[in-house]
């Protein structure tokens, strides 16, 4: 099959970018989308042109490294599928495809289709964990977790941190990403002691990174390759406002010597 690509080429951070047209012939429908770009890059290199930079690694839809906006949709047209798992058979012969990086102020473009998603890491650092020092854990079966809670926590924990939710959102909000982690840990008994500080810390960091606010468009869920539900955003809001409006009493801070 043949495809016409318009690929966003940007030489570096803060520089002007432009769509460049590439016509591809002899594309196999069994190729993954990234394999198609691999073939194009090999052609570019053999012409001594600069290949297109894009992030990718596992190519099985789990590492979350890949992602590009294809014809306006993060990860392309197929439901629940990352760019690396998208196959050319999803497109008609002669398709015209516009390929862009994630667009969000909090994800600055580094080069071509590569963006900096360090903001996600900083949000996790601000509270997206359970404090459990190595060696201090109790016997695993001493803690019962109802199967429905464990399953629901797993639904939320399936997030791969790719950033498609941000790219899909008209406000470039990271609420689905944050909500997935807040819910994953908040649904489990192990996550209860830090439930309040976690949600407050993560939301504050999300705001500091320059992500927009959530206005319930639901585009994030539609774009999410792991189909993470926006119900988790509702859960985040409940946790957040409960903590903000009815804070639990705090013990006085102990300072000074004994």
């Amino acid at each position: 099959m043949r495809v016409r690509l318009h690929v966003w080429r940007q030489p570096g951070p803060g520089l002007a970018g432009v769509f460049v047209r590439y016509d591809m012939t002899e594309v196999s429908p069994d190729m993954s989308f990234l394999e198609m770009l691999d073939v194009l890059n090999q052609q570019l290199l053999s012409r001594k042109d600069e290949p297109i930079a894009f992030d990718h690694d596992c190519r099985e839809g789990i590492c979350g490294a890949c992602g590009m906006v294809i014809n306006g949709r993060p990860h392309g047209p197929q439901r629940a599928t990352t760019t690396c798992q998208l196959h050319m058979r999803s497109f008609p012969d002669g398709a015209e495809l516009w390929i862009e990086p994630w667009r969000a102020r909090a994800f600055p473009v580094i080069k071509d289709l590569v963006v900096d998603r360090g903001a996600f890491d900083r949000i996790i650092q601000a509270g997206g964990f359970i404090t459990a020092r190595t060696g201090s854990a109790p016997e695993a079966n001493s803690l019962l977790v109802p199967k429905r809670d464990a399953d629901l926590a797993m639904d939320a924990a399936a997030c791969i941190g790719c950033g498609a939710c941000v790219a899909a959102c008209p406000n470039a909000s990271a609420m689905l990403f944050v909500a997935a982690k807040v819910s994953h840990l908040g649904l489990l008994p192990q996550g209860q002691p830090e439930r309040d500080t976690r949600v407050v810390g993560m939301v504050a960091q999300m705001d500091a990174e320059g992500f927009g606010a959530c206005t319930n468009h639901g585009e994030c869920m539609a774009a999410c390759p792991k189909e993470i539900s926006i119900d988790f955003i509702a859960q985040l809001n409940r946790d957040y406002w409960k903590t903000k409006l009815a804070p639990k009493p705090q013990a006085k801070e102990f300072t000074g010597a004994a």
Partner: protein, 640 residues
């Protein structure tokens, strides 16, 4: 030089406990002054970096991915073993130890494997406490599943995404330490060389993959958690970025490389579709719990699977290994698949003679119902359908073996230290625990055992005793190695040939798959070594990299890794040629039993082969670590 494994004295069961009580501790105030460099952020690297920082050490962690969360451990699907005996089916630490030693075809070190089994239960405790959402029973207790090569149910899992969930647990522990300033994390940073001063590993040279800047980092110890080298085959289930560079550079600086020819070919991967293919996808081995593997009895049978009647199907694993059946160990399952395909009974595109066998869920669906199967394997079925366009609920899956894991790696002693003082290798990057074949659900166990529960103790023993002069990146040794790294980058960029690094990578991958893959013979290996040498010379003359060094340049990254694979591939063939026996995944056609199973030669090859670098293109020097077995009886593996 003599390889000193430093295995503690005493009975097998008591060695680790005793060692832990006897090794030197670092005073808490001194820990703050010790700086440890951890390269890699997968299960081993992230768990080690987090645990070391919790202990109070200064830690710097590096990964080439854009985030620590994306390390390749994330792709592990099936599960993690632990000797909890929650199923009351007779499991024990000794049984897990024995299964692992036997599965590895008696080519691993007893004391290390026993320790691995011993700490396995605590890993589950640790991960559960971190919030890893393991599968649960209705009563709220943890669930288990069974896995290839064993007869007990000891595998813990989180749907088909166990590696992802365990890695996120370790990543979150690491993130907590980064957030509190105890770990400095450098993503998009690739280690390109090791700096050794007065026999001690004192730092690394790193290239920033965004700006291209090459910088030196000094520390008191270096931990390599940089994974395996399956990508030497080009097509493998490894992530595209996985490479041998870090451990290869360490080898060239004096670390010994152990058993490089022990590479595992995983039996259940999606077959290749065409020449454009850049990566193979694994389907979790757990599918073999309920799927039945078969091919037509007749050669060149092109009928669709549902038209082939029961009596014309050959369920060859059930036929050959009646007591393990479809759960035979990976090496055997892979080799048998190759064998039936070589006989012309393979299935898939191209009709009879294709490179694939069926993995059929028809009977399991009839027995357990569609819903139960969807619950167990739903995401795997979806993934298969996305890639192949076929629905496994309707037609049997097609699978074929693919390179997947490498048991070989840097030689380490009981403390996980390489032959260079202060240089440690953990996880898949070392050779220690899996012998000649790894059992399913054991890689996650080993990575986390090394990172959470072994290295944090043993590294202290070194730091407490080593005389470490103060060094910084201005030291002449750093200057020199940094200069060499820069020179190599310039050389790659200056080559103005006609072929891409990717094209060369495909070529060497083909040679390795054909001659040093699922089965090997002396003639093929010698031929391969000649081809590799010729290709390597051609590479440096005819490669074209393009772009600049001071920029994000993925072509340059790839070229550097391929250049190292070219050197490494030769060592792998060398090792495979010298080991004149078959064991585990190393199948030498000259050495097999009449039934076609691997025939070991314990007399001549009951040792770990640790190779010393002698120069590019020069014959490496062999050092042997004899393997002594006290607790287990060496037997031919039988899974019949």
């Amino acid at each position: 030089m003599e390889l000193r494994s430093h295995i503690p004295a005493g009975p097998l069961e008591a060695k680790w406990e005793r060692h832990r009580s006897e090794i030197k501790l670092v005073n808490p105030a001194n820990k703050l002054k010790r700086h440890i460099l951890v390269v890699g952020s997968g299960l081993a690297g992230a768990s080690a970096a987090a645990s070391l920082a919790e202990l109070g050490y200064q830690v710097s962690c590096f990964c080439f991915q854009d985030s620590a969360r994306r390390a390749h451990s994330i792709s592990a699907q099936g599960g993690i073993n632990a000797a909890k005996n929650y199923q009351n089916d007779g499991d024990s630490v000794f049984r897990l130890f024995y299964d692992t030693i036997k599965g590895g075809d008696f080519r691993a070190r007893e004391a290390n494997v026993y320790r691995l089994a011993d700490v396995s239960a605590r890993i589950i405790d640790q991960c559960t406490a971190q919030g890893v959402p393991f599968a649960r029973e209705y009563g709220g207790l943890l669930a288990n599943r069974s896995f290839g090569g064993v007869q007990v149910s000891r595998t813990f899992y989180a749907r088909g995404q166990t590696g992802q969930q365990l890695l996120l647990g370790a990543y979150q522990a690491l993130s907590r330490q980064i957030g509190s300033g105890n770990v400095r994390m450098d993503p998009r940073a690739e280690m390109l060389d090791l700096v050794v001063i007065d026999g001690q590993a004192r730092g690394i040279i790193v290239r920033d993959l965004v700006t291209g800047a090459v910088s030196a980092h000094a520390g008191d110890a270096v931990v390599l958690a940089t994974g395996g080298y399956s990508n030497v085959y080009y097509l493998s289930t490894n992530a595209k970025g996985c490479n041998v560079t870090a451990i290869w550079r360490a080898y060239k600086r004096g670390a010994k490389f152990a058993n490089p020819c022990f590479t595992q070919i995983h039996p259940t991967c999606i077959p290749q579709t065409g020449p454009h293919q850049s990566k193979l996808t694994l389907m979790s081995e757990s599918l073999r719990n309920d799927g039945r593997i078969w091919v037509p009895k007749k050669k060149g049978d092109t009928r669709p699977p549902h038209q082939i009647p029961e009596e014309e199907r050959d369920y060859y694993l059930e036929r050959l290994y009646p007591s393990y059946g479809n759960l035979a160990p990976r090496d055997m399952a892979s080799r048998r698949a190759k064998q039936v395909c070589d006989e012309g009974r393979g299935v898939g595109p191209g009709g009879g003679g294709g490179h694939g066998v069926y993995l059929d869920f028809r009977d399991a669906i009839a027995r357990l119902g569609r819903r139960a199967i969807a619950e167990r394997y739903g995401n795997l079925f979806e993934m298969y359908q996305r890639i192949t366009g076929e629905d496994p609920f309707q037609v049997p899956m097609r699978i074929y073996p693919a390179p997947h894991y490498t048991m070989g790696g840097l030689w380490v002693d009981y403390n996980l230290m390489t032959t260079i003082d202060g240089l440690y290798a953990i996880g898949e990057a070392n050779f220690s625990d899996h012998g000649a074949n790894r059992l399913g659900a054991s890689a996650l166990m080993q990575g986390l055992a090394d990172g959470y529960f072994i290295l944090p103790y043993t590294i202290g023993d070194y730091l407490a005793q080593a005389k470490l002069a103060k060094v910084d990146p201005e030291h002449p040794a750093f200057r020199q190695v940094q200069g060499e790294v820069g020179e190599r980058i310039r050389r790659l960029l200056a080559a103005s040939g006609r072929k891409t690094a990717d094209a060369f990578h495909r070529e060497i991958g083909r040679v390795m798959w054909d001659k040093c893959g699922m089965s090997r013979n002396a003639a093929g290996l010698k031929e391969a070594m000649g081809q590799i040498g010729a290709l390597r010379d051609e590479f440096w003359k005819d490669v074209y990299v393009g772009g600049r060094g001071e920029d994000l340049n993925q072509s340059l990254e790839h070229a550097g890794r391929v250049a190292d694979f070219f050197e490494f591939a030769e060592l792998m063939c060398h090792d495979a040629l010298h080991r004149e026996e078959s064991c585990g995944c190393h199948f030498r056609e000259e050495y097999q039993t009449p039934e076609g199973e691997a025939k070991r030669d314990d007399e001549r090859f009951g040792y770990v082969a640790a190779w010393e670098f002698a120069g590019v293109g020069k014959e490496p020097v062999l050092h042997k670590e004899p393997l002594a077995f006290e607790a287990v009886h060496l037997a031919q593996r039988s899974y019949k």
